[in-house]
Symmetry: C2
């Protein structure tokens, strides 16, 4: 029995009983619907003991359920043991969703409660619908866990820093014009933003309130006349304060957002992104304004990098690729000679990156998996649990940095010694797919769904698939994952798709994951570019940003088409041209060899 969890649940249930609450719902989200949440927001982990990155907890008087996805079934079972919490395996047949569960179990007049700041509007409205049918009630302006969590970590409040226009390519005023033009098109005169990376982009600022994501806790409200930026008071230095004074921006206190929304006299409709804005904000705004749902205009504008940003990224990616080249050289030359583990290899990579000019932070914790460990897509080596490296098999390393000039993300898989023929075939097919996608020519109007088969084709031909997307968008000195674009083939009814626009940056990362055997991923980052325009339309192509060798020790040319070999040789030639000038003579000679024509 996990007594601390049971005690917490008991305390919560007492509070529920006092207030007549039958269902208390706790999500994983922070107030900003972030992909990664800071420790302060981990109420669900505190109440259940489950540490996974996705999971929602529903507590009733006599039972409780935790919903999580397939990545975490085994871990959740273990962590929930002795808590009395039932595991609901999401997407498995016969397992209801939280809303379905509520629909089936709520009784007439029942009260559902949650912290409305941590539930997005779409989900909140679904729950509202169910509760209405049951003639029940929702309490959403509460946070019971805060009262129970005596040693709750303090909320992060790191200093905000500003980025020069020379780095951002556009002033805040110019960006506000673009956002207001997009609002006009949707007939909205107001916009409330809570997505932190959107806010950072719009105001040319960055923060350090979330690990690996250079964002600050913040809100923003844009009207036709004014723009209000809500930051934590202690996060704003005098320097930043005076910089903001020179911008068409009113600085507000992060704590005052709800009060502000309540007192605001709205002129015209308010645009809210129902998937991102919290239910608490939606309810407040709805009281006094017409709400129009739609994507945050900032999302698309942020995704289409401008020429200044792209130029900065090109330089940063060269430096970051140099790091990967140096790591590869170190790895290949030292394996079997000095002791190495998954951890020490990752540390060496991080060390190289941290010593690179302009480095701010890692863009995510480095993933470093040897042999069968690489078959687990979310593998993280730990002090307690990691492998020693030996001169055989393959090492997969997925890593990236935040630099003043861009966010990087790169994966390479290297041979440490002999591997099977099957592994070479798999590795070669992955390289073929990655290069086919990065060499794609396509018409404007295509989305990632049209292109995914180029990357997967060589694997599908062998009856192999990888259970993740081929590509995601990447921020600029921002989150390593951002939308709206991606490369994913699967169709879902009613889903949104983003046309690939010039300047959109995408990852291109096909892989092979054979459980208990080996894992391969080769990941480059690329920019969408306009190519020829003629009577048939605007053709598009990609420009590579990543320049790191593909391991020729793992290539089996017999399965490659002529074009695949040309693609590889052309890519390697560019790797040498871009990276050798940054290297010592000895390093350059090594690079020449590992990027040789085949």
């Amino acid at each position: 029995m996990k007594k601390h969890i049971c005690d917490r649940l008991e305390t919560l249930r007492k509070m529920m009983k006092e207030k007549g609450v039958m269902y208390y719902y706790i999500t994983t989200a922070d107030y900003h619907n972030s992909e990664y949440a800071d420790d302060y927001f981990k109420e669900r982990e505190f109440m259940s003991g489950f540490t996974g990155s996705n999971g929602n907890l529903l507590i009733e008087e006599d039972k409780a359920g935790l919903w999580t996805d397939g990545r975490y079934f085994i871990q959740a079972e273990k962590e929930l043991e002795g808590t009395g919490i039932t595991l609901f395996r999401m997407a498995e047949e016969g397992v209801p969703t939280v809303t379905e569960y509520l629909e089936q179990n709520m009784k007439d007049g029942d009260v559902l409660a949650f912290d409305g700041r941590t539930v997005n509007t779409r989900l909140g409205q679904q729950m509202e619908e169910i509760v209405e049918k049951k003639q029940g009630k929702i309490l959403y302006q509460i946070d019971y866990v805060d009262d129970i969590w005596k040693e709750r970590p303090t909320r992060k409040c790191n200093e905000v820093f500003t980025l020069d226009e020379k780095i951002c390519g556009k002033t805040v005023a110019e960006k506000l014009d673009m956002v207001r033009a997009a609002m006009d098109k949707k007939n909205c005169q107001n916009l409330v933003l809570s997505k932190m990376d959107d806010i950072m982009w719009l105001f040319n600022i960055r923060g350090r309130d979330v690990e690996c994501n250079p964002v600050a806790l913040s809100y923003a409200v844009i009207t036709k006349e004014n723009s209000y930026l809500f930051l934590q008071e202690n996060a704003v230095t005098e320097e930043v304060k005076s910089w903001i004074k020179g911008q068409p921006v009113v600085l507000m206190d992060y704590e005052k957002i709800m009060e502000f929304l309540q007192q605001q006299t709205w002129q015209g409709a308010v645009l809210l992104d129902e998937g991102n804005i919290s239910y608490a904000i939606y309810k407040l705004v709805k009281e006094s304004a017409e709400v129009i749902f739609g994507d945050n205009p900032t999302e698309l504008l942020k995704a289409m990098k401008n020429e200044v940003e792209l130029q900065m990224m090109r330089e940063v990616y060269k430096k970051d690729s140099l790091v990967v080249c140096r790591f590869m050289k170190w790895l290949k030359e030292n394996i079997g000679k000095i002791p190495m583990t998954e951890l020490s290899a990752a540390e060496y990579m991080d060390h190289l990156r941290k010593n690179t000019e302009g480095f701010i932070d890692l863009s995510f914790p480095t993933i470093c998996g040897y042999k069968e460990n690489a078959a687990m897509m979310h593998y993280q080596a730990t002090e307690d649990n990691h492998k020693e490296l030996a001169p055989e098999g393959m090492l997969l390393i997925d890593c990236g940095g935040q630099y003043l000039g861009g966010t990087t993300d790169v994966t390479r898989t290297f041979a440490l010694g002999p591997v099977s023929d099957e592994i070479k075939v798999h590795y070669t097919a992955v390289a073929m797919g990655m290069l086919r996608l990065s060499n794609a020519k396509f018409l404007y109007g295509c989305t990632g769904r049209n292109l995914d088969i180029l990357a997967r084709g060589p694997l599908w031909d062998m009856n192999i698939d990888y259970k993740c997307g081929t590509g995601h968008g990447i921020g600029y000195i921002l989150n390593v994952h951002e939308g709206p674009q991606n490369v994913r083939w699967r169709f879902m009814e009613g889903m949104k798709e983003a046309v690939l626009e010039e300047g959109m940056v995408l990852s291109n990362e096909p892989g092979v994951y054979i459980a208990d055997s080996h894992g391969i991923r080769t990941e480059n980052i690329m920019v969408t570019k306009n190519a020829e325009k003629n009577g048939d339309g605007q053709f598009m192509c990609f420009e590579n940003l990543t320049f790191a060798p593909i391991d020729l020790d793992l290539i089996d040319t017999t399965i490659m088409e002529r074009k695949d070999i040309e693609n590889l040789n052309r890519y390697h030639k560019k790797v040498y041209e871009k990276i050798a000038p940054l290297m010592t003579k000895e390093e350059a000679a090594w690079l020449k060899e590992v990027t040789r024509e085949i």
Copy 2:
């Protein structure tokens, strides 16, 4: 001035005035939302003089407008001259749609009238919304043109014929079970069908009321207990009548459908396909039942051919491919020796097909274009306007038949003599794309949007596109175009996509169309099949049905990958294996040569 058109418009306007109607709307549709309508239904052509296959006419007291698409702008301008009818160029910037026009122009209290049998429910509802805003009125149970059109052709009423279960693979009872199961899933107890090919499929019957489409004018109503089939009385022979008596089907008179719907006491909700069912039917049903909108379940069931149908098709496609082979031999051996025109070549092809066992009809009028004429996708040679063929350039021929055992559709482009190197490159790229798509391996869940780039890729790489889909579904002894599946890359907000299911038959027809120069299309028909199933999912592939040579005189191997050459050789080997046994010795020797390995 076109006096006859002006007179007709004047008469109509008098009738409008008498009834207080300000707008009278005439569509191209028959009562069944068919792709091709019989002459009886051509009210719009009668009233406007415009003969194109797409166009809608809106008549007001002092003006009139015709809406048509880009294919017909030039033709419509010519045909509308002197009628006083304004041409509205659909999809051009600044040109309102009919509904936008009505919204902008209708005054409060205005009356809009149309024949509700020729307007689908979706459009009808849009108009309803506009008219409601204007506090106006819609009259939809009228047909003024019928009163004016003294020499209106009689409505087709050809004899219906039945198909044996041995040809259909399933009995009517089995199909009704499948349809009712699909209705159950949508919580509908009733279904009204007006789509003729769906009705033919469901009841294992065929007709001849539309040119090239073996369908009969018909309606159907399916309830939990009964199924009612509405056919024209004179179309039903005693033989068919007695066959129907043995089926779980009540035969009804086509003329009585409205009466029946009015008097029906519905048990449960009625499923209607809003894009296909007429507004007149919808309004009737809505009076006395709950209407649920959704696709006709028959559409998907019909598209997934069963094994009996597929076996019949395989045999029919061999016979039809033999026709194409014989045509190719005749063409290649006789060009320059005997006089030939686009018309006489098409006639020869039709002649070969008509003499094939099981032939019923052509599946569409044969398209035969020489040189630059082939660049016009909808080209039709006529007695007055066609080209002579000479031993140079290329001939494109697109044709197909209705057989007792399947519907065919095939396109080949042949060299009649010397062609430019550019043409060879274009032809080879088309062949590469067609073969890459037909050799695709993909995961279950893919739609045509995921695969289209395989066919277009070789052309996109050259900055060339074709402005049409790559593939459409094909009926079984039914319409040459059917849904829901297709191969089209372009995304449109809110559009439906059909997952490629086992048994779905698709065309695969990439092309190059260079205005005033040349046109190339190579079209095979293929069946979607299950391939290997493993932990990564159910893989899918295609089986070819069409076996006709790709013209090696037009192939430039220098641009082909190794796999493309293998694809072509493997395909040609199969062509020889399947078709040579049906040939004379001399023909087989010729086929051997034109399908030789390269």
